[in-house]
Amino acid sequence: MILLIDLCYRDGSLSRDEFVAPVERLLCRNGVASVTRHYTAVGASDLDSADAAILCGTALMDTGYLEHPELFRWLLTFERPVLGISSGMLALAAAFGGGVDPCREIGMTDMNVLAPDPLFSGQEVFPAYTVHDYAVQVPGEFVALAASDRCVQAIRHRSLPLYGLLFHPEVRNEWIVERFSRLAGRQSP
């Protein structure tokens, strides 16, 4: 079971259908069970029963989740696969001490794969949909996996299956979420 985390400004917000529901449907179409929780309502039992977690994106103006770093500390000890999408990548990097730099990209942008990884294997350059105001400063425990002309677009923890993507894979790159969920399936007990 994958725990989907809604980072939007409010539980059940108007942004939910835009940033969370498309990922829920994508997992459902691939036969992957998931449960969704707002980031303010993630409980110990949710974390215990999850094989993996996906942190979904938010609207550009929506940065409220960054004001609650204590609600993302569980990422430090979760140790199972995590995929942070856009704002989710910022939250993941922040939990590991990574800061942010202003970097606005909106629209389709080419991603250049920088380092070998199962998530992007067979790909060198692919176009992806970006909607972000900030890029992450890659934390010391992470490596950069892909970048646009402007900034790092994908990171992975050096020893754990923790991924962050600045672009939105649920838009025109569903294969990345599918690969992640297979990875999560392989690592589940």
Binding site: Y9, R10, D11, G12, S13, L14, S15, D17, E18, A21, P22, R25, A59, L60, M61, D62, R104, I106, G107, M108, Y129, V131, D133, E170, V171, R172
Partner: protein
């Protein structure tokens, strides 16, 4: 005032049905074309926030003249049916100028109705969604796309279940012939559309540009629209329903 044509009618905006969360309710403007997607997005926005106005950008491009001539008047009629003010801005309909006109429309909506964000009916168009996102960000406005990547089947079912009444006002692809113009999308028509979507390379919602729609009734309309006189302009799988005369009637 800039060169575009503005029309504002102050009415009280719709409030979300209930405030069941921690944050305050946001005032939003809905980018509105008169078709089902922007109307349904408006309906979705009303469940969560306050819709303060509708915003429409009307093209004066001769290419789209025949599409937009009826809509200029009918957008105002739909806004009246919904009891919402309308911010209407004209544009020459050229690519980059359109963005400037869109920005002008959003600035006006913010000044007149205090909107903090913009709602669109975008489903799949990355190009359109990104253009609106950029303008909103420049203005410091939130951007909402509640139909983004929607499941087409579920969306159409939800649309009919919610009580929307939608008429096909334009066809732009085979196999849609003249007989489709003016047809209401009811259960039977939806079944036919489903069969066509499976057989041909067309989307069920018309998102690929195969169909244009016009909403004559919505759950938030106080009155519905009655089309009293319409003509069809059609040639070789391309046509529009020109609504010559329409009015509001009790529901």
């Amino acid at each position: 005032m800039p060169s575009g044509r503005f029309r504002h009618r102050r009415r009280r905006g719709y409030r979300a049905l209930e405030e069941n969360n921690t944050g305050r309710i946001m005032k939003l403007g809905v980018l509105f074309s008169g078709g089902k997607d922007s109307m349904f997005a408006c309906w979705k926005a009303m469940q969560k926030e306050e819709v303060a106005c509708l915003i429409t950008v009307v093209s004066r491009n001769p290419e789209s003249y025949m599409f937009h001539t009826p809509n200029i008047r009918l957008a105002a009629l739909q806004a009246e049916a919904a009891g919402l003010p309308l911010v209407e801005v004209g544009t020459a309909g050229e690519k980059e100028e359109e963005l400037i006109d869109l920005e002008r429309a959003l600035r006006t909506a913010r000044e007149q109705y205090g909107i903090e964000g913009v709602v669109t009916g975008a489903i799949l168009s990355v190009y359109q969604a990104a253009r609106v996102q950029r303008v909103c960000r420049e203005l410091g406005l939130w951007s909402f796309n509640p139909l983004w990547l929607a499941d087409q089947e579920a969306y159409m079912e939800e649309l009919l279940d919610a009580g929307f009444r939608v008429v096909i006002a334009g066809v732009f692809s085979s196999p849609f012939d003249e007989s489709w113009l003016g047809r209401e999308i009811d259960r039977r028509t939806l079944d036919e559309l489903r069969a066509i979507a499976q057989k041909y390379q067309v989307t069920l919602t018309g998102e690929g540009g195969e169909l244009e729609t016009f909403v004559v009734d919505a759950p938030f309309f106080a009155q519905r629209i009655a089309i009293e006189e319409a003509s069809k302009v059609y040639r070789n799988y391309n046509g529009v329903l020109r609504i010559e005369r329409a009015g509001l009637v009790a529901k």
